[in-house]
Amino acid sequence: MSIKVCNVSYVYHRDTPLETVSLRDVSFDVDPGEWIAVVGHTGSGKTTLAQMLNGLLFPTSGEVVVDGLKLYPKAPHLKSLRRKVGLVFQYPEHQLFAETVLDEMMYAPKNFGIPEDEARRNIEKTLELFDLDENVLSKNPFELSGGQRRKVALASIMVVEPDYLVLDEPTAGLDWKGREALFSILEDFRTKGTAIVQITHDIEMVLDHCDKLLVLENGRKKLWGTPAEAIEELAEKPVKGLVLPEVLEFAHSLRNAGLNVPLTWDEKSLLEAIEREVSSCIS
């Protein structure tokens, strides 16, 4: 049970003057309950990759296999796979269309043929997770605040309880508070066993949460590993357009200057290491 992405490449506008290669030979796996961060500069192919995990785009070469089933155009199992792999586009609130939040939340369950009473129960659970009030159900999505609209959009995807959740820049346009709220919701889902694939250009935001990082540069896999492994490499060989946390950059400079400190992005542990070093120098 996992998503396997094997040697995937993707070309837009193939055989025309506008041909663009957006992914080249990318491979990685998503195991149940894992939190994967896909990081890269604008145009590095993150959105293209996200759409492939859900069978919205199909690889030009290579393959994507979800729970043992390969994705290809018009596959009979496409719909059930889309239920398994939830995909949250960037600015998901742009896809709201229904007159009430309830109709919006019922849309995916109806499409996937989930019985009404089960859908109802799921909606209640999901609302609770998202810290939304019951009476929001009768409201029109367009009269909610921006942050609440984003929550409703996310909830309307989560209500079918996918095993994998792919989010394309889910924090775009959110303030600090909204971001923290979103991360705590995602952590809740992870503890329930949902695998998360989070796409972002801001590596600092995901370091504390993810199990593994996939770094893309111009459509190529640049790096694949745990946050600790990744920052070790990134500090030595920066990737175009990826800004490392300041604390990490500082730790790296200290280390280059000969101090014995760990490469960390956590202020407190860096401070402690520096204090240790300084006091050992003095004594």
């Binding site: 837009y12 506008h13 193939r14 025309t16 003057p17 506008l18 759409q51 859900n54 919205l56 719909k79 889309r82 239920r83 939830g86 995909l87 586009f89 998901p92 742009h94 896809q95 709201l96 269309f97 229904a98 849309y107 995916a108 499409n111 996937f112 367009f142 309307s156 995807i157 079918v160």
Partner: protein
Amino acid sequence: MHFLEHLSLGQYVPAKSFIHSLDPRSKVLAVMFLITSVFLANTTLWPYVIWFVLIVIISSLSNISFKTVVTSTRPVLILIVFTLAINLFFADGRELFRIAFISITEEGLLTGIKMGLRLFYLVLFANITMMTTSPIELSDGIESLLSPFKRYGLPAHEFAMMMTIALRFIPTLLDETDRIMKAQLARGADLDSGGIIKRFKALIPVLVPLFVIVFQRAEELAVAMEARCYRGDYGRSRMRPLMWGVCDSLYLSAILFISASGVILDRWIL
């Protein structure tokens, strides 16, 4: 869901070429000359060969392969075939052969081919022109060509501005449509099965967000234009004034000469 996979009809392809570098006015006038002449010639098929060669030459001067130009006209091919068929089946004249109760006449065949070719050339040439002219240039060119009629009350500038905005937003809206469709597909939508009513109902979740976005964009654009003190044509200067060069005169004369000789050949010589 893959309608962005192919180049759409008339999509601008940025590149450097002789045709790209021409003044939009000469290109627009050339299209008008060629189309007029194609519709004026109607006795023989010979001029159509000349025009075809001309179109192939122009496309080779535009740095876009002829194949690309032809494939992107695919959406109108059905219209062309339809035109051919109508003429083929419903013209009177000397019978060539019969298929069941339909008689195919020589006149019908000839008119059908000619009408089909005319349409095809029209689309082909307009397509090359659109592919090599950015939307902004195109509407600047049209504005400039229409400006003599301003004194008779024709709102040339407003017309061109509307065209620019529409052309500018077509790719954006196609992108948005693609995104929204994909987002709803990810939520299990079934966009391409069932009868007409079911399909239309399935489109509502795509159309509503699209309209919301269109209105939002329109409002943002209006505010942005107002914030930059847009007040129509009055006292407006241009970042890139149109420049008519020797090449433009040459190009236009060449097209005019060839188009005219096609018509003359057709009417008085052959």
